[in-house]
Every structure is written in C-alpha cells, then in structure tokens.
Amino acid sequence: MALILNEEQSMLRDSARGLISDKAPVSHLRQLRDSKDETGFSRELWNTFAEMGFSGLLVSEQFGGSGLGAVEAGIVMEEIGRTLMPSPFLATSVLAASALSRGGSEAQKSQHLPRIADGSLLAALAVDEGAKHRPLQTRMQAIRSGNGFKLNGDKALVVDGHTAGLLIVAARTAGSAGEKNGVTLFLVDPKAKGIARERTIMVDSHNAARIVFDSVEVNADSVLGEVDQGYPLLESVLNVGRGAVASEMVGLSEEVFGRTVAYLKERKQFGKPIGEFQALQHRAAQLYIDIEITRAAVLKALQALDADLANAGSAVAVAKARAGTTATLAVQEGVQMHGGMGMTDQFDIGFFMKRARVCQELFGDSNFHADQLARAKGY
C-alpha cells in the first residue's frame, strides 16, 4: 500500500478541513473558554459532524456508520489539530466506537453503536489513575458481588468524562498492578449511584474529568469483552487512540509551523524580514523536516492499525513518540520565533502550546512510547 492518501481519503480530508476551518477556527475554542461554557464544546457542531458522517466513521454500516478505519479517523483528527477544535470525536467516535466494535456483544453493539453514529450518545474511556499513563498499573477494583461487580477507585484525565452518557472503565477483577491478566472493561452509566464526576478545567481549555467510583454496582451484562482478559482489547483501543492523537499533533504542528513561517516573512527587524537570518532559516528548515518525517511515521502507524491491529504496537509507539517530540519542538519554536507576541494571550500560538502539552500526556508521552519500543526489541 502506498504511504500517501488515496483519492477518497483526500476528499475526506478536504471536506473535514472545509467544515472545521469554517465553523471551528481557533476563535471557536477561545470563545468557549472565555464564556466558561459548561460543556466545553458545541453541541450544534457535533450534530453537523453526525450529519456529515464523521461521528460514525469507525462504526460499521450495519449499525449506521461508515465502516472506515484508523487512517480516516486520523485524517479528521489532523484537521481537528489544526484549529484545536474541542470535539467529542476522539472519546466517542474513536475510542468508544473502537472498544464497542471490537469487544462488544451483539446486544451491546446494537444498543450503543447506532447512537454513536447518529451523534446522540457521547462516551468516554476511563483508564488513567496516576500522574502518568500506565494502563498496566490499573489498580481500580472490581469485586464480584451478587450477579455483578462492585467498582471502587479513582480515574483521571477521562477525556469528555463530564459530558459522557456512557463510561468505558478499566478495572481489575484479578491479579495486581503490573499484570496483564485480570484487567476487565466495563460499560458504566455515569448516573449510577456512587459515581462522582468533577470536570477538570485543563491548561488547554479542552474537556476532561476526574471520576471517583465508590461501591458502584454494575451487572454482569456490563462487562465489555471477557472478564480478566480485557487487557489486549484495551491495548488495541488505546493504540487506535494513540494513532488518532498522533494525527492531531501532526495537524497541530503543521499549523503552528505554517503560522511561524508566515511570521518570519512578515516581521521586520534590522530593516529586513527576520526570515532572512540564517539562524532562523536553519531552525525553520529543521522543524519542517521533523514534521514531514513524523507525518510519514504517523501514516505508517495508521495503515498498520488498519492492516493488522494486533501487531501495530511498535509502529504506533514510533508514531506517538515522534509526534510528541515534534509537536513539542513546533510549539516551542513557534512561541520563540513570534517573540513577545508569542507570549500574549491575544495571539493564538499559546493555545497550540497548551494543547500540545496535553496531547503529549494523552495515552503515553514520548518517553513512555520510546520505552515501549525498547521493550518490544528486547533491551
């Protein structure tokens, strides 16, 4: 398969770019932040996403979606990254749709997937517990109780957790932190007794929550996939999410870079555009090269996810690690090369820096993924 977009994928990119750049430029995020919007996203825009078929991109046609893959999800995420649009797309259409499609029973799929596709159901994946992403270290307890389980524990950085109508929760039914065996995924109603949700206002003005589970009862039907054997499913879903976030970072990096190069051509000091200075030219060229190489690595990972999900781990680790370092460099150079203006809230560049920091942490930062790669290679 060629490592470029095909015609249909290019068309998808154009339509996503058209919609997002028109309806949700960076000013859209700024307005949601400044108005202290309760949900932190635009429901109206989400309905448009559903009408255009984006919300059900990964949902099979049988359940009302388009049945497309990680490459297409990445295309939409990249456009989201360009304007920093806060959208339920990642949590609902990528993570939850993947989890339900791959792990769900027929009943679970037919209950939830059509509602994801038509935009009426928002969902969230609750994995992280500590300061860093360590899914294998999942400690949250799910103890057998009657016909079901009782959940106890805390989850953090649950993307869209405050607005979700369905939570997918990783908990431990056996084993201890660090073991793959014993992790189980649950579908949980966020309105269930014992759940406390706190929306966390984040540095990037995007949406996440901390969720406390205090003896939350769920029945046996709420298990997604197999009891004790949920880790491979979780890892697959996380890998699709990592590919998606890496794509978002490619879009973000390219947008920051484009704005920065434009500024280098326009800003004059010492009587000439600062882009004439070789010190800046070489740094801009290095950043361009970095972004292009990362773009290839990310597309490679997305194609690997579609071709053979179970064996895409190393390609995904490379993509997420690269995308993290590239985005970090892009926003740092972006602010630095904009000089004092880059430090002002009035300029958009700072928004990109803030979002890049969150994307780094989401589902494992560059260090985490470089370490994963090293382990996979046996050193």
Partner: protein
Amino acid sequence: MADLEKFRSETRAWLEQNCPPEMRKPMTSDGDTFWGGRNAKFSSEPQRVWFERMRDKGWTVPHWPKEYGGGGLDGEEAKILRQEMAAIGARQPLTSFGISMLGPALLKYGTEAQKKEHLPKITAGLIRWCQGYSEPNAGSDLASLQTRAESDGDDFIINGQKIWTSYANYADWIFCLVRTDPVAKKHDGISFILFDMTSKGVSTKPILLISGYSPFCETFFDNVRVPQSHVVGTINRGWDVAKYLLQHERAMISGMGERGVGRPLGQIAADSIGADAQGRLDDAVLRSQIASFEVDEAALAAAAERAVDLAKAGQAHPAFSSAMKYYGTELNKRRYEILMSAGGIDALEWESERSRGGARPRAWLRTKANSIEGGTSEVMLGIVAKRILDLPGA
C-alpha cells in the same frame, strides 16, 4: 492487484532459488560491496554468482528500461522486489555511482547515443564511474568551480583539479563539471562532460582520511582532450544536469547506513554492557538514547518509503531529497556515536584481528563525512529554507 501478487510470488520464488545463502548476510566489510568496472574483482564465488544472475535478469537496476539492460519494472514492481529482497536480507548485487547518480541524469538529459553507449555498461557492471564535482576552492560553493574546458576543433582541452573524488583511483570513467564559459555568471558557464579516466593527462592521488582509509582522491587534469560530443545536455547549461544529479546523490546518501537490518542496536549494546535483572540494558541513559534513536530511525524509514510513493504520484517536491539527506546523515552519525559508546573500550582498538582491523571506530569516523559530502547539512538546510519554505534572501 492480482498481477502484482503474482509478480510478488514469482519474485519471492526466484530470489529463494537464486540468491546464495552467503549473499543474505549483512555486509561486514568494504569488500562485500561489488562495484563492477574494468578491474573488478569478486571477493567470493557467491558474490560472482549472485551478481551474474541478477545482471542476466536485468535486476542490477530493476527500474531502468530493458533496452539499456535494466529490468523494465514499474514503480510498484520495483517496490515489491525491494521488499522481497529486504525480507531475506539479500545484498545489492552491484553498487555504483553509474546507477545512483549518472544514470538518472543520462536518462533525463542524455542523447539516445549517449544512453545506448553508457547505460548498458553500467547495468552490466562493466564500467565504474566517479564524480568530478568538488574542487579545492569549490566546496559548498560548488558553482564557483574553476576547472576549465577550452574549445579546440571538435574537442575540449580540460585543465584543472578536482578533490574528494570518491574512488577515482578505481574508476574507469568520470562525469565531470567544467567551466566552458569563463565570462558568464558562475552558474551559466558550466558544462557536464564524460570522459575516460585512462585519457592522457588524467592522474589521481588518494587522500588519507581520519579513518585510515582513502576513499577519496585528488584528481588532476593536464591538457586532457575530450570530444565535445561527450557533453551531456547543452554546453554551458551543465548546472541543470549537475543539480538534477545531486538530488539523486542526496537521496542515495540519505539511505546510507544499515537501517533496520541486523540486530537491534539495544541488543548490540547489551552484548558488551550487559542487562539488568529485568532484561533492560544496564546503562539507563544510553538505553534511552538508543530508544529515541530507534524511534527516529523507524520514522525516517517511513519517510523514505513515502518519498518514493509521493514521487510516483507526482506529488514530491524536487528539493525534498535535501531534507532526507540532512536527516539521514545526521541520524547515521548518531548511530555510530551510540555504537562507539556501546562498544566502550572494545570499540577503541584500531588494528587487532579481534576488532576486525578496527572496523567499528573506522566506520564511526567515516560517518562524519556523511553530513559533508554531497552538500553539507548546512547547505541542505539552506536549500530547504529557500526552495521549499520560500524564505527571503536565502
């Protein structure tokens, strides 16, 4: 698609049957590379067998037209052949500057007679070429070159000196940049010309490098007579040919280094440093350097694959090979810094049999030229800034 799958399975079967087991092992020394030429010697019988089988199949240069001794494969087929060769670790049967540099320039700018004369001898490994570009006072500022070619009837008389001419002492022919108009602006008076290294007045002198090897030469021209019909492209428009060729040279250099073959770098390091109880390399800082290196290496491999696909689709920027050259060479230098650190004291031996004649430190020192030859990293960044980013005054 079905045709391609058929091609893949036939190719796989053919390689399986025809590639000797010895030619599927990673190369360990310079002698493992077969360069062809009038004085070519095979370092082993399997090397000869492998070369001849591939030559007869047209696969020394699979994507060149059959009429010039190539395999006539299209882009997809050539990619499949590369993948299948990589899958069994098959070595390149023939390496030459004729394939990687001159050939593409001749295919674009050469006359039919020039193509017929030179390309089949390249694919058959009969003629080994060298590149006469740099001069003592024309390095990064290549277009200021001073070697002059003066008209004399149907010939040019060439006088001057080249430097850093790779393997000039082994080469049969040279493709050379000469000044044919000393008055014109520096880019407008250059011609691209081909001649035999046995011509009267050509002499070479190897340059001893820090690695202890002499892959480069000084090359002197003293009244060398060359027919004007040996100019490729138009007289005084040789800079266009030179630049086009450089794109290919840079693409080649960016691919130097043994990416993704053999054992992972971390395991090579663990051989000498050891591992902790969890099986992790017993040098946490080096381990993290290796891990980031391998992330970047895998990403570059994807970018190289994508560059080929973009070119095929007509979406490639012509200056992108400069970007790849920059990144590939800097990465290869990082690789050898890691290998030296991983080898520690053992990697310091220069002459023992144990160290295969100091293979590692010599290779480490050799990589330092990667970011200089074919255009320095700084020149590459300048090209990206000017031609791709369109920054002012670059």
